[in-house]
């Protein structure tokens, strides 16, 4: 288990957004979290990455608790994320965006910046090399000098993935990576997710609305509804689970009224 969540509970005042959720993610797998709108998926993601602080439960990353850590610490430990609504550095170039991911893997400080000793130069080169490799991996290397805001939407998504990969994570959390993509781009995304796992040995955990994509790519699926985990299993198991069908389509009696 690369990530273990135990009885996680997150409340906003009287509203319980995540209610005693437990699950584990196998190292080297591709797993997904699905659920109807407002089920608490993104809230759960934000707890895992340190943006929200859950009140109860525990989150173990590689056996260590990350419950009380700040987001940048969690990223440094090896868990990277993307955002549901693109959160690129819009007025920076694609290259600069992706280079930012290497921040937590490098260390030059004020003296290094001003005096530029050989060690700092070598580090800068390493940052560029990694950034280039990540941009090449997702296929946006040819746009590296464009400003992020001037790229079409599909390419902006790619920049976000490249940026997350540049943090050199062990576990990559994708928050609705297919949102706003067209059919072709979705197919490329599926291939990319597989390549991330197979070629880079990164465990992938995604939140997704697009059922087709989730069913195709995930080895295991967790279903969340009203903050409670209602099912887990393979795509087929989940698809045939009556509670899942109920959560998505409603009960028959209710529909009749």
């Amino acid at each position: 288990m690369i990530l273990e969540v135990k009885d996680l509970t997150l409340r906003f005042g009287g509203l319980t957004a995540v209610n005693k959720v437990s699950f584990g993610i196998e190292e080297g797998s591709i797993e997904s979290l699905i659920g109807p709108n407002g089920a608490g998926k993104t809230s759960l993601f934000n707890c895992l990455t340190g943006f929200y602080r859950a009140q109860e439960g525990d989150i173990l990353f590689e056996g260590k608790s990350i419950m009380r850590l700040k987001p940048h610490k969690i990223t440094t430990l090896g868990m990277a994320r993307t955002f549901q609504n693109l959160r690129l550095f819009k007025n920076l170039t694609v290259m600069e965006n992706v280079m930012s991911g290497m921040h937590c893997r490098t260390s030059a400080g004020v003296a290094g910046a001003i005096l530029r000793p050989p060690s700092q130069k070598a580090e800068e080169k390493r940052i560029r090399d990694v950034a280039m490799e990540c941009m090449d991996f997702v296929g946006i290397l040819d746009k590296k000098d464009r400003l992020a805001k001037n790229l079409p939407y599909g390419d902006q998504r790619r920049v976000e993935w490249a940026r997350a990969l540049a943090t050199q994570p062990k576990l990559l959390l994708l928050d609705e990576p297919a949102a706003g993509l067209n059919y072709d781009e979705k197919m490329q995304l599926i291939e990319l997710i597989r390549r991330i796992r197979d070629e880079r040995k990164i465990t992938v955990f995604l939140i997704e609305h697009d059922m087709g994509l989730v069913m195709k790519v995930s080895e295991k699926i967790f279903v969340l509804d009203y903050g409670v985990k209602i099912a887990e299993g393979t795509a087929q198991e989940v698809q045939n689970n009556p509670r899942v069908i109920e959560a998505y389509l409603g009960k028959e009696e209710e529909n009749a009224v």
Binding site: F89, T106, A108
Partner: protein, 338 residues
């Protein structure tokens, strides 16, 4: 969903094509020309030669104004690290050069320390002050920092006004000027060169910081704090660092100001001083180093040029600023388009 996306895409494309004005293209050409190292270094060398030879041909008054320009270049670039690079609003920057000026003044006057030895102490005091102000507030949103720095500026001035060691309202008078390699720094030309060196150093350090891992981190934080944090950037630490570096710039400039003036009083560090510096940074273009230098030049030279019209000059200055901010809110220095 598909419709929405094409809409988005055309909107993005439109935005990208909007820059088709010949003036903007001309500026972009200059930028490209300036990217050539040979062109850049020869232009800079020529400019520096002119500045170095300037004192031989001009009046005392002109030297005085130019020295003031260099002083402002240093403090504006210092504030630019805080405001322009890290995106923090600081309204009490004058307090930091008060820290430097008083540290140097007190050490020379009361303890007979050599001026050059007061500089490291001045830096240390700036770091302590920066930590004290920035430490608790930088975790909060930037608006709070503006209020706290505003308060800090006033507290520093009032403390200086009421403490015995700072000479109360009269301030410190008769601060001894130092010697450098046996040369006594007494003439205005000496200070012109001293501040020119400081300004060149400030520009150099600003560029080096801008093009570094730290500079990139600041840019990211300015663009999107949460995303920066998600990329593994320690937002609070990076901001604190910017705040401290900016403070050190201010304190060093303040130390040199103390020996140039030989007398400092609490009234040298008014709120309006902080505002003028902030103005220079915003006017020139936040985060753009040549723009900030231009802004510093503007806020010093403009009131001098219009000295003839007496009390109305500030009114005109205000009106010009207002017009500028309406038509060029991004500052005087042009943006690069890619």
């Amino acid at each position: 969903m598909k419709d929405k996306q094409t809409c988005l895409q055309t909107a993005v494309d439109k935005k990208a094509k909007k820059v088709n004005n010949p003036f903007v293209e001309l500026i972009d050409r200059f930028y490209v020309l300036f990217d050539n190292k040979k062109v850049r270094y020869s232009v800079l060398a020529a400019a520096l030669a002119v500045l170095l030879l300037l004192p031989m041909r001009t009046s005392m008054y002109f030297m005085e104004v130019m020295t003031n320009v260099w002083f402002h270049v240093v403090v504006c670039l210092g504030l630019n690290i805080i405001v322009g690079f890290a995106g923090l609003l600081s309204l009490g920057y004058a307090a930091f050069f008060a820290v430097g000026a008083y540290t140097t003044g007190i050490l020379i006057l009361h303890y007979g320390v050599s001026f050059w030895l007061t500089l490291p102490v001045s830096v240390l005091m700036a770091i302590i002050a920066g930590l004290a102000i920035g430490g608790p507030t930088l975790k909060l949103r930037s608006d709070y920092l503006a209020i706290v720095t505003l308060g800090f500026g006033e507290i520093t001035r009032l403390a200086a006004r009421n403490l015995d060691i700072t000479g109360r309202a009269t301030g410190l008078v008769g601060i001894e000027r130092p010697t450098l390699f046996g040369l006594a720094m007494v003439k205005i030309n000496h200070f012109y060169y001293a501040f020119l060196v400081l300004a060149v150093l400030a520009i150099f350090i600003s560029y080096r910081l801008q093009d570094s891992r730290l500079g990139r981190a600041w840019k990211c934080i300015r663009e999107d704090e949460d995303a920066a944090e998600a990329m593994g950037i320690n937002v609070v630490a990076a901001r604190l660092l910017a705040f401290i570096i900016g403070s050190v710039f201010g304190a060093l400039a303040g130390s040199f100001m103390a020996i140039k003036m030989t007398a400092i009083s609490p009234e040298s560090f008014l709120f309006t001083q902080s505002v003028m510096i902030l103005l220079a940074v915003v006017l020139g273009g936040m985060g753009k180093i040549p723009g900030v230098v231009l802004g510093a030049l503007a806020v010093v030279v403009f009131p001098e040029v219009f000295r003839g019209i007496g009390k109305y000059r500030m009114l005109i200055f205000g009106a010009v600023l207002l017009v500028l901010m309406i038509y060029r809110p991004q500052g005087l220095w042009p943006e690069r388009h890619t």
